[in-house]
């Protein structure tokens, strides 16, 4: 169940900020230099990081696989012939065949689509919920904030995997569209809290800036201030959090599918294939190892990407 906690744990670190160190250090260092934006600094920093490039390449590669699996393999992942059970590599099936006699590599390539779809859409919906709740709570404060913060606390207090099990058990349809939608729904409903907290705190910070006060004095309305002045500030930290969350959502989808309550055949999912490969690992390990590697590398890529971006934006703790 701890896959879900990864998100929370890494994000908490993002939210942490240390007491300012080095008193007496030259405060005005850089004050008179050419003005540089935080984003510009972060980009200069990112460009030099091999981890950033490696993870970005992986992300692009997986995205391409999801969009155009035909570019990576000519074999049909659903073309399974029992006679080829656990057969060695041949004719484009570079990793051989699995228990059902399907092309292991081709299945892994086609598995990217469901994973990425679930991950991206969950992150998108999570982000929307988080922005809505976080901005409302942060901007209006008072009792609105109090109520929403308690709601966040309660949802955060629900053990995610257990709740996902309970929710998904109710979906009896075997239609792959319905199941994918259900998994996305469950992940978004349960996974928005940390991002909402991050948005809330950055909104509170932004709200206290002078230019917001100035805008208000000039007669700008709440919705205008929120859209023009506060949203841009809340967006960057939220995107960083969501990049990492995207990786965790992919892991979560695979975990649920592995347990048999997420996606189901005929949808091709790494989680389902890992479970199948696990059962027959003694006869042949490649059907276990290949989808495992695809899943692990994809999740890693997103987490490392988010981690690198966050480090670049928050250089305090390096």
């Amino acid at each position: 169940m701890s896959d879900f906690e990864t998100v929370a744990a890494t994000e908490n670190q993002a939210a942490r900020r240390g007491p300012s160190g080095e008193p007496g250090a030259p405060n005005q260092v850089g004050a008179a230099q050419k003005p540089r934006s935080l984003a510009g600094d972060a980009w200069r920093d990112l460009r030099r990081k091999p981890i950033f490039w490696i993870s970005l390449t992986l992300v692009v590669l997986v995205a391409a696989m999801a969009a155009f699996p035909g570019l990576f393999t000519a074999n049909d992942p659903r073309d399974c012939v029992l006679a080829r059970q656990h057969a060695g590599p041949s004719g484009g099936a570079i990793f051989g065949y699995d228990f059902q006699g399907c092309d292991t590599y081709s299945r892994a390539v086609y598995g990217a689509r469901a994973s990425l779809l679930v991950g991206a859409l969950s992150a998108l919906f999570t982000g929307l919920i988080a922005l809505l709740v976080g901005m409302t709570a942060g901007y209006f404060g008072r009792w609105v904030d109090a109520v929403l913060s308690r709601v966040i606390d309660i949802v955060l207090g629900i053990p995610l995997l257990l709740a996902a099990i309970v929710l998904l058990k109710r979906v009896n349809s075997d239609s792959s569209t319905v199941r994918i939608a259900a998994v996305i729904f469950v992940l978004a409903v349960l996974g928005w809290t940390t991002a909402a907290r991050v948005v809330r705190s950055s909104v509170i910070t932004a709200k206290e800036q002078d230019y917001v006060a100035a805008a208000r004095m000039l007669g700008a309305g709440d919705s205008r201030i929120m859209l023009r002045h506060i949203l841009p500030n809340a967006l960057a930290p939220a995107i960083v959090v969501l990049t990492i969350a995207l990786g965790s959502f992919i892991a979560a989808e695979a975990t649920l599918s592995f347990l048999g309550i997420g996606l189901k055949a005929p949808t091709i999912s790494w989680g389902i294939d890992i479970d199948a490969g696990r059962v027959h690992m003694r006869e042949s390990a490649t059907p276990l190892v290949v989808p495992s590697a695809f899943l692990a590398l994809t999740v890693l890529a997103f987490i490392m990407l988010g981690d690198a971006i966050r480090d670049a934006f928050d250089p305090k703790l390096r």
Binding site: P19, G21, E22, P23, G24, A25, P26, N27, Q28, V29, G30, A31, A32, Q33
Partner: protein, 345 residues
């Protein structure tokens, strides 16, 4: 181990003609990813037993860094001490081993900091923190250290000291916290007390109380004190001499009275003119134009020249030496005489 109330330290033995503490031509840099910041550029000042030296300057002028260099608590990296000497009772602290320097800290030279809330450990009771020095450094027993902590808290006038021993820093008011900080610094009867902006974080009324307390303690315990501040108002009643710092240099050095009467550096003059005065009505408060210099690119010549009303070509080209003006006054300005004469007028 004596458990009586703090005894005045006998005037410290200093070598023939030497000072108790003597900082000579100190250079410190901060090396960061952004570049090298020259934080201290040849600072020299001295302190004799029983006197109070005020070190004055804006934040970033290097006054705190100098103090931390004396204490040996600079974070290295990023700080690097390039050159100079810090003589304490004639011995160069910079040449001593870390262990020798540790012995000096707290026992010979103690320091109190600006923000007592963050400078005290939030997770230990104040009594424990005061007593820790005594237990660790003097080998006192727990109960002795406790008793002595109460004495010290009484000494800095914390009411009901014995009852508050077990309280945590966040349970005290700002002024009381600073008193705890002072009690802790006094635990081993140091000969020198460095007070780094001790009142900056406090309310105005409390500021005065703490300054009075420090002045009284300094006198009663016969310590020498370095008072670091950016507030000229704080200095007047307490200090004997003032050293004004700018861009990591001492720009003016004088006894309090003559400095107030006639500052001999345009920077000091600017500082004095920016204080509102009670005795003059309808005055025009002047400010020093411009910003403090970027320590990675200190201006050529006199570092103050871009902000100086007296600026001439020579100020851009030539770094001014300390000009001796008599009465032990110095000013690092090419036009020190003129500035002083202007001010005296």
């Amino acid at each position: 181990m004596s458990h009586s109330v703090v005894q005045p330290t006998p005037a410290s033995p200093t070598p023939e003609g030497g000072h108790l503490l003597d900082v000579r031509d100190l250079h410190v840099e901060f090396r960061t990813g952004e570049g090298v910041a020259k934080v201290i550029n040849g600072v020299s000042y001295h302190l004799d037993a029983g006197e109070t030296l005020a070190v004055l300057g804006e934040s970033g002028s290097g006054k705190s860094v100098t103090a931390q260099a004396i204490m040996g608590i600079l974070d290295t990296p990023p700080a690097v001490i390039r050159s100079g000497q810090i003589l304490y009772q004639g011995r160069d602290l910079l040449k001593q081993s870390e262990e020798q320097r540790r012995q000096v800290r707290g026992k010979e030279i103690a320091m109190i900091f600006q923000d007592a809330l963050s400078a005290l450990n939030p997770t230990f009771p104040v009594g424990w923190q005061i007593g820790e020095t005594l237990r660790q450094r003097e080998g006192m027993s727990k109960s002795d250290a406790r008793r002595r902590s109460v004495e010290l808290m009484d000494l800095v006038k914390i009411p009901a000291a014995a009852k508050r021993l077990g309280d945590y820093p966040h349970q005290f008011s700002g002024g009381m916290r600073q008193r705890v900080m002072i009690a802790m610094a006094l635990a081993m009867n140091p000969k020198v007390l460095i007070a780094d902006e001790p009142t900056t974080a406090l309310d105005v009324t409390v500021q005065a109380q703490i300054m009075d307390l420090l002045a009284d303690l300094r006198r009663d315990l016969n310590m020498a004190m370095i008072l670091i501040t950016h507030d000229l108002g704080v200095v007047a009643g307490v200090a004997d001499r003032i050293a004004v710092m700018y861009a990591g240099r001492i720009v003016e050095h004088a006894d309090v009275r003559s400095l107030y009467r006639a500052p001999a550096h345009p920077y000091t003059k600017g500082l004095l003119e920016s204080i509102p005065r009670m005795d003059v009505r309808g005055q025009q408060l002047s400010t020093i134009k411009g910003l403090p210099p970027n320590l990675m690119r200190i201006p050529s010549g006199c570092p103050f020249h871009p902000r100086c009303p007296y600026v001439q070509q020579v100020c851009v080209d030539v770094v001014p030496h300390d000009l001796v003006l008599g009465d032990g006054r110095t000013s690092a300005c090419h036009f020190a005489q003129e500035v002083r004469d202007d001010s005296a007028r």
